[in-house]
């Protein structure tokens, strides 16, 4: 009898997460799986690699390539600049009053993405933006002649940095606070220079956090649709905009090729996170 009761109690325990499991299953896992399976199917439902092979056209290759470039560079620059600012407000000896406004602002800016962000940048360094006009009328510098174009890869990167940098600041600041003063002093008293301390102690300790943020920023930029569309319309050939156009109007002319395009995006963000997890496990031997 008690055995039965125990079994029933254990079964009851699982009932508690049924709503969560159903929600995640129906609205996250199943839709994703549907796309993944669709990428390997003919319209009749037979198994095929044709869709994946079909991705290998100049236009789609280029879309992925530009997306990768924008995501990687904006993540890399976001990490580097965000790290520098976070280090400045935590360890740089700046007045304490500069820290909280920067953190608060980062909280706002990291969530200020999408359509309005694009508007802000168009109003600033777009063809008729504040800076563009100022430089042209006051200083006689025509940005366009220097190759500047907001509706380009670098325009996108500069725009994405507006949420990438703050995100890095938000995530890395607690990690920098976690560096104990004694570590630095111990290294110093043992004869290490500041550079040696950073190379041998601080950076290895921060490495997992930096990597994690890098992967997050990468996925963040790779999946960003709204900012790109509001900024460039459908003109810029990047993977999420291509997918958006495909979903709206089947521009690729094959629904299953669309699945393959989406599947490719999952593979790329998934791979970025796999690399992150693997490097993190290596970097965290000392934290197991």
């Amino acid at each position: 009898m008690t055995g039965m009761a125990a079994v029933r109690a254990r079964a009851l325990n699982w009932v508690g997460i049924v709503p969560f499991a159903v929600f995640v299953g129906l609205f996250l896992i199943l839709p994703t799986l549907y796309i993944v399976v669709g990428a390997f199917r003919t319209p009749d439902g037979a198994f095929t690699f044709d869709n994946i092979i079909g991705l290998n056209t100049a236009s789609i290759r280029n879309a992925y390539w530009v997306s990768l470039k924008v995501s990687f560079l904006s993540a890399l620059l976001g990490c580097a600049i965000g790290f520098a600012i976070a280090a400045a407000i935590t360890l740089g000896g700046l007045p304490r009053q500069m820290r909280n406004p920067m953190i608060t602002f980062s909280g706002v800016a990291s969530n200020f993405a999408g359509v309005p962000l694009a508007f802000a940048f168009i109003a600033t360094i777009g063809p008729a933006g504040l800076i563009t006009m100022y430089l042209r009328t006051e200083l006689g510098i025509n940005l366009r002649l220097y190759g500047w174009n907001l509706l380009s890869t670098w325009g996108l990167i500069v725009t994405y940095l507006f949420f990438q940098i703050p995100l890095m600041i938000l995530i890395i600041t607690p990690a920098l606070d976690g560096l104990k003063r004694e570590w630095r002093e111990a290294a110093e008293v043992l004869g290490a220079t500041g550079l040696q301390y950073w190379r041998m102690v601080a950076l290895p300790i921060l490495f997992p956090s930096i990597l994690g943020t890098m992967a997050l920023l990468f996925a963040n930029a790779f999946g960003a649709v709204a900012t790109a569309i509001a900024l460039t319309g459908p003109s810029l050939n990047i993977a999420p905009i291509l997918l958006y156009a495909q979903i709206r109007g089947d521009v690729l002319g094959s629904p299953n090729l669309g699945y393959a395009l989406a599947f490719g995006m999952i593979v790329i963000t998934g791979a970025a996170n796999m690399i992150y997890i693997m490097l993190r496990i290596r970097a965290e031997r000392w934290l197991k």
Partner: protein, 260 residues
Amino acid sequence: MNRFMAWIAFLFGATYFALPLLGMAEFSLSMRRGVYSLDAYRAVLADPQFQATFAFSVVMALFTIAFGILLVVPTAFWVRLKLPGLRPLVEFLTLLPLVIPAIVVVFGYLRLYNTSSWLPMTGTAMGTNILLMFGYAMLALPYMYRAVDTGLRAIDVATLTEAAQSLGAGWGTILAQVILPNVLPAVLSGAFLTFAIVIGEFTMAALLDRPAFGPYMQILGANKAYEPAALAVIAFAITWACMALIQLVTRFSKHARAQR
């Protein structure tokens, strides 16, 4: 030298952050030639489309928050209390929306829940609204779950539950009257963040073809010059307000704790 570099980094960041805000503010005030005016704001606010889409997104956000709380609080509580072994898996699942692009997920929705599927949610406007709400809840899941789980970590869930049970409380009472009040600051933080995410969301609303604020902004941006900047200022103000409320809630709860 070190402090000098710190100043450089800080000033660089401050300038980079300030310029676009300055740019959009200046642009939003420049609708009338030669003078600063609030014409762009007037035009936007008077637009019935603006009112309708904004109201739609606010309602969506409120429903998403309500659904998110109902889903996340009991789940996080239950996992901590009864299924601690499942925590890594649940945490992993809640972080997935940060990895899988939203556009891919909504693509799946369109195929899985279209009119000819087993669950034809996109067949009716109401069905599509509900689907959109689920999508938003999915987008907000990483933030909501994290906030609540962190809140739960700060209290001794097991002891509180046993104490309440020994006093004769059922699960509903425990959740509503013991757990929820204790993690309220965390829940509110998650709620405001959800609001900030949902209010301007574009991709899901556009692809599900709902008259939300995000797609409205995008269409306006493609057709008008000064109004988009005004919209950007408004959207920024909303985001700022949400973050300020989060800070307020956290500070208030810390204050209350210190007084005890």
